[in-house]
Symmetry: C2
Subunit: 127 residues, 2 copies
């Protein structure tokens, strides 16, 4: 089978870590970005870990839970980079109705042999 | 404003060309891919322009129309590469109800000064 083979394990590990940190303490997410990282959040653009965390911690909800459903991954043209494409539901505060979201990451290797998030693009899928 | 500045014009031109070719004659799309290009279409993986076009032309509808709504773009970690994130509706055959889709491209420069699609990840957003 050619299903779910491309960099799938790294993508799953990243997504689990990312949304786990997002949903428990967004202020810790800076460790997953670099000073060159780019975020496009609902069309709003932010450069670098500090600005990205400032944006994510300013979002107007108290609690959030991401329920990711599909995680596709591909090797990037960038050496050892990985493009990750996530779709799922998220729940804010006491809402029981999910919001559908889609999010794209490009993970790039660090000198330490780990990965950081170089590109991050997020959109709610409004009907 | 920091809205819609990152590589937006190239992304818009690519998306217009891509969906125009897709909706009029899918068999011509090979010119937008290379032998190294990767497609993940609803979880099914295909490598290289020929295999990608074979997949896209095998899809089980006669006519299709993509109505893209949002096109986000970011410079990639790959030199002069561009990550493009599209959401929109598509209509197949005589259906009047749209299917929502989300699609990710990584565009990379060609030696001729144009761009080809290195990464392509497509998902329908099923509720």
């Amino acid at each position: 089978s050619t299903q779910s083979t491309w960099d799938d394990q790294i993508a799953q590990q990243f997504v689990q870590a990312y949304y786990g940190m997002f949903d428990t303490n967004r202020s810790t997410l800076g460790s997953l970005y670099s000073d060159q990282s780019l975020l496009t959040f609902e069309g709003s653009q932010h450069v670098g870990a500090a600005a990205i965390v400032a944006k994510l911690t300013s979002l107007g909800f108290t609690t959030v839970r991401h329920e990711y459903q599909i995680v596709d991954a591909q090797p990037s043209a960038f050496p050892n980079g990985i493009i990750v494409f996530v779709t799922g539901n998220l729940f804010v505060d006491n809402e029981t109705n999910p919001l559908k979201f889609a999010q794209v990451f490009q993970l790039c290797p660090t000198p330490q042999g780990s990965y950081y998030c170089h590109n991050d693009l997020f959109r709610l899928n409004v009907g």
